[in-house]
Symmetry: C2
Subunit: 357 residues, 2 copies
């Protein structure tokens, strides 16, 4: 098995305490696959009641009714956020309350009871603390945190489940998309991701399995991922399978409006603010494919991808290339955001939440 | 506890064998809720491999990874069919191969491996046989059979799960919608159920949790359920949350075309054939709301609802009333279909599959 992190480069001798500080992971080769950790958090709540404090249990399979809402009718939401280890060995969360609020919106949409924002953040902290040795060393990656809210009670006819489970598991992760350069996206002109009144605007599990095939097909053709258009007109861009999209032209940064079919990304929201800080005019509005193809720069945002430049965009037979490199806005925004997340610059926005170790 | 079925009306004396013939259920009061039975069927298959024979296990909770495709990304399909006990005590299935074929189509859409049609039917038979005492007495209800195909393996980034589980559980059920008359439907003019390239045409779990809220809201207003319009134009009718829809005018029976957003119901298909046998012209095509409101008779079809008349339809402030009663086509079709299913008439179509007891 791989040894503990960088023992040779460590400035002091390895002690027993050091050995317990980090889990036995090859931190140099982190990808975006699951590495099981020590603990997960589980809380349950009956329909019509409120969540009370959950508990930490050893990470492992859960027991669930074959007749549960999640297994039969897709009654489930997930969230995704990260814990960061700073150079001075603090462990920080990025805007966890925003995930808690988004879970509440999603729960309302799927007729579930959600933990309160406070309960959500408290549970995240507790879970990360219990798994602190799995938070990668500074610069080596992050601890990805996956909260789930699922209809776990048995329900035969289509209806909301009589019991909900709030569960959090974590996994150390590295970079999401392993590309040496930018993303090569394909505009899907046939299939839609979401429709009016659907679940496109919340982090419902139902948004994801339907796009896996399109992702697979695009990847088989050499693309990184798929960009979907709106279901109502088929003319405006909406979202990539797993992230939001921005286009840049001159001093204007534009991103599709969150009007019910697009996920209101927390990275999206933060990047919007940082771009304004840099003096850009930020517009949230309908963006046509024509405009997309005429943009100077395009990038994606999301918890997993952070901020990632789009190198090429293909629509039917047309392929356009965008600005890349050190001088791009996406490079600046990536640096600004990750500097805050890693604690390298002062967090003047109050985005970071420290976990008491 | 309730006694065994109708011991007083039984023409022969109760023996030990009789006592074992039926489970301890109050058959007179069956609804559409889960009644746990003795056994369920479980088979597993790794991605890239094929399903081999599964096994019967006692009905109960299953163990699954918190990081599984179904819990995180909604990678799951279900089917629904019924076992019928005939007057001469045979146990029959209605077109189970059709469910098996539909599961294959859905599995392809959601990047899963499906059991073969033959494996599917064999597994259904095995599960019903193991639970035969839970098949209600003739005229008292049916044994509802719920096959699931889920992404049960752990997957962190959005992709297909590395392992799939095919599971079948059953429950004795009575009538789905407890209405003394017909359904009172509301046309949802705001929200859509499915979109082009989505999962509307397969029995994906992702089609269902998103409509629960609309069903709840409609029920709170006194409606039975919601009828959705197409996402592309918002002008044509598509499907009720849990069943297909037919309209009748003169000698023409029409139902929306299964062009990618509508579930190809097995009851729908069978009813289409029976209506043709009765001399009706059956059209599968786009049907506008205007036409719906001008129909003489409207009815819904589905495994759970069978064939059920629609009494009223409400679109915005307009409410129309349809023909009801003994003389309607839906009454005739319901009688024809259930007579075949219950073995009261000869099955000239080869739809029924008998289970060797």
């Amino acid at each position: 098995m791989a040894s503990f992190v960088q023992p040779s480069s460590s400035p002091h001798l390895a002690s027993e305490e050091d050995e317990q500080k980090y889990a036995n992971v090859n931190w140099e080769e982190l990808g975006f696959g699951l590495i099981p950790t020590d603990y997960m958090y589980v809380a349950k709540c009956k329909q019509g009641e409120s969540f009370s404090e959950g508990k930490l249990v050893p990470y492992g399979d859960i027991s669930i009714s074959p007749c549960s809402g999640i297994l039969n009718y897709g009654q489930g939401l997930f969230e995704g956020l990260k814990a960061y280890r700073t150079e001075d060995e603090r462990i920080m969360l990025f805007r966890p309350n925003q995930n808690g609020l988004r879970m509440q919106t999603g729960a309302d949409k799927l007729c579930m009871t959600s933990p309160s924002e406070e309960q959500f953040v408290k549970a995240i902290k507790k879970t990360v603390l219990a798994n602190k040795k799995w938070v990668p060393p500074p610069g080596k990656g992050t601890l990805y945190i996956r909260p789930l809210l699922i209809g776990s009670g048995a329900v035969l006819g289509i209806a909301s489940a009589p019991e909900f489970t709030f569960l959090i598991y974590v996994s150390p992760v590295g970079i999401y998309q392993q590309t040496s350069s930018g993303l090569n996206l394909k505009v899907d002109h046939q299939h839609r991701r979401a429709h009016s009144g659907g679940t496109g605007c919340v982090k419902s599990c139902t948004n994801y399995s339907p796009v896996v095939k399109k992702m697979q097909e695009a990847k088989a053709l050499g693309f990184s991922d798929v960009l979907f258009l709106d279901a109502a007109t088929g003319r405006n861009i909406e979202e990539v399978s797993t992230c939001n999209i921005f286009i840049v032209k001159g001093n204007v940064v534009s991103t599709p409006l969150t009007s019910g079919t697009i996920l209101p990304g927390i990275t999206r929201k933060s990047i919007t603010e940082l771009a304004r800080d840099l003096g850009y005019q930020v517009q949230e509005r309908d963006i046509s494919v024509d405009e997309l193809l005429e943009a100077e720069e395009v990038f994606c945002t999301g918890t997993a991808v952070v901020v990632q430049a789009v190198e090429t965009m293909t629509f039917h037979d047309k392929k356009v290339k965008y600005m890349m490199g050190e001088e791009t806005l996406s490079t600046k925004l990536h640096s600004m955001l990750t500097s805050i997340q890693k604690g390298l610059v002062e967090d003047t926005k109050g985005w970071m939440v420290e976990i008491d170790l």
